[in-house]
Amino acid sequence: MSTFEAATAAGTSGGGSLTLTKGTRPIKIRGKRSSLLPLLPFFAFVGYFLIYPLFTVSKDAFLDNSGHFTLANFSQAFHGVYAQGFLLSMRLSLASALVSAVIGAALASAIVRIGQQSRKVLVAIASVLANTGGVPLAFMFIASFGAQGLVTKALKFAGIDLYAGRFTLFSFMGLLLVYCFFQIPLMVLIFSPALENVRPEWREANDSLGGSRVDYFKNVSVPLLFPAFLSTTLLLFANAFSAYATARAMTAGQMPLVPLLIGNLVDGNVIANQEHLGHALAVVMIGVSLVVMSMYLVVLRLTKSRS
């Protein structure tokens, strides 16, 4: 399972601006001082298995092979193939986030209109599709959009040659297509709760005041849903940016995406003694993700404070 559940939560609160309902407040037992003791197992576990590794990787990123402080790892991370990797990863993540956000939002707007039971089934399937990746996903696309794939053959029969230009499944456009397969369902999952909060009464109000469909779209639904849309798009970016299994299965080393570069350094496939470079790349990746996710949180905050 990947980001969808928490993201669903975020989407819900993003759409929370549309309604006045609020969750139950935390309640306190009277006359009891809150102690930290019952939370110690949690803090110990998270401290050791999450904070400590992140601290170590950040610290090591500033060390050279003999253990002295250096910034060389970072300057290497921002040059040559690694800089290209970051640019490519960001371009792919941005493109797949934008395309999937638009298509996913359209799909979600259709899905919230269908019956409860079939919607439940579709959402369940979407949660699986949003988590497909790696070899299974790669093979599905090779079987359909590959040079010998069924869709390719069907399109050729209809007179459209997918492979007439420079398209291959392993190019940028091909990867974009594959990424959409898990990004669009993720968008549907996260964005649907926000759409469900749009009241049909608002549409009626618009109609009875003489507004057209364009007026409704321009003045009601777009301003209402834009924050949720934007925040979800940022989440999709982060999701694509950190995708490793699919990138590895699809590119066979042809596309220098950052997660793959890091993976190669860890496996020692390239050059030995470059561990610290791997650490620096990992830290820069966390940095990019952190920027995107804090933008996401800011958008959510703004949305909440407006309600």
Partner: protein, 258 residues
């Protein structure tokens, strides 16, 4: 007034369905090919069932999933319950910590684990379960938090304590049963995540079902496609059961109260 489906919506749904159904159907078609595509059969499915490592690796993934689920329950249920009772002032911090794994790309986390964890810990595949607990935090926290927000927790706990139950008994016999579906949700999420996780397993050099699929896929393309179909439809099957199951329980409750 209910929102209506317009012709445009049918077009969108149709387009979406085609985009998602075509790759699935194409994979199924390929997986059934036998005799160099001259006829159809189940030979490719039989191939992977008899591969070395199919059962041990699937079993390994199930064991990791079970351990992850147990760890998640033991760690998260008391913690989240406490943030809803006396520890409310820690709630913000815990919520924040539980979101951190969303921000950290798994590759970066994997490097951190390789560098930081002691050798003795890294010598057992079960280390993966501890790391899976971390990457499932955002989802499991959310599931439990939502569940606890929907019940009168303070009242229940006070009632239980006033008739003399210990904290452990209160948790075991009062709180957990009343958030059963949220607990189930958290378990399910943890299990699904552990069964499908690839990045940590491969970077920490352990063999699990997803990494095994990756390895055998290099020898036999059609076999690998069958395996992919098996894994994907298996996952859809499990999720559909879980999605449709709560209805059964609801109708049972109605019968009981009647």
């Amino acid at each position: 007034m209910k929102l209506k489906l317009r012709p445009a919506h049918y077009l969108i749904l149709l387009g979406g369905a085609l985009f998602f159904v075509f790759p699935l159907m194409a994979a199924v078609e390929f997986s059934l090919r036998t005799n160099q595509g001259k006829s159809y059969g189940l030979a490719n499915y039989r191939w992977f069932l008899h591969q070395d490592g199919f059962r041990p690796n699937l079993f390994m993934s199930f064991k990791l999933a079970a351990l992850t689920a147990v760890l998640v329950l033991a760690l998260m249920v008391p913690t989240v319950v406490y943030t809803h009772l006396g520890g409310a002032k820690w709630r913000r911090l815990i919520e924040f910590i539980c979101l951190v794994p969303l921000v950290v790309p798994v590759v970066s986390f994997a490097i951190g684990a390789i560098t930081a964890m002691p050798t003795i810990f890294q010598s057992s595949p079960y280390e993966l379960s501890f790391l899976y607990v971390i990457i499932s935090l955002p989802y499991t926290y959310r599931a439990l938090d939502v569940g606890l927000s929907s019940i009168p927790l303070t009242t229940l706990v006070e009632a239980s304590r006033s008739i003399g139950a210990s904290s452990r008994h209160t948790l075991q016999f009062v709180v957990v049963p009343s958030i059963r579906s949220a607990v189930n949700g958290a378990i399910f999420l943890a299990i699904a995540l552990s069964l499908g996780e690839f990045t940590l397993a491969v970077l920490l050099h352990w063999d699990t079902f997803p990494t095994w699929i990756n390895n055998v896929s290099q020898d036999n393309v059609l076999g690998a496609i069958s395996l992919s179909v098996f894994a994907l439809f298996g996952a859809i099957f499990i999720v559909l059961i879980v999605a449709l199951a709560p209805n059964i329980r609801k109708s049972e409750k109605i019968e009981e109260s009647a």
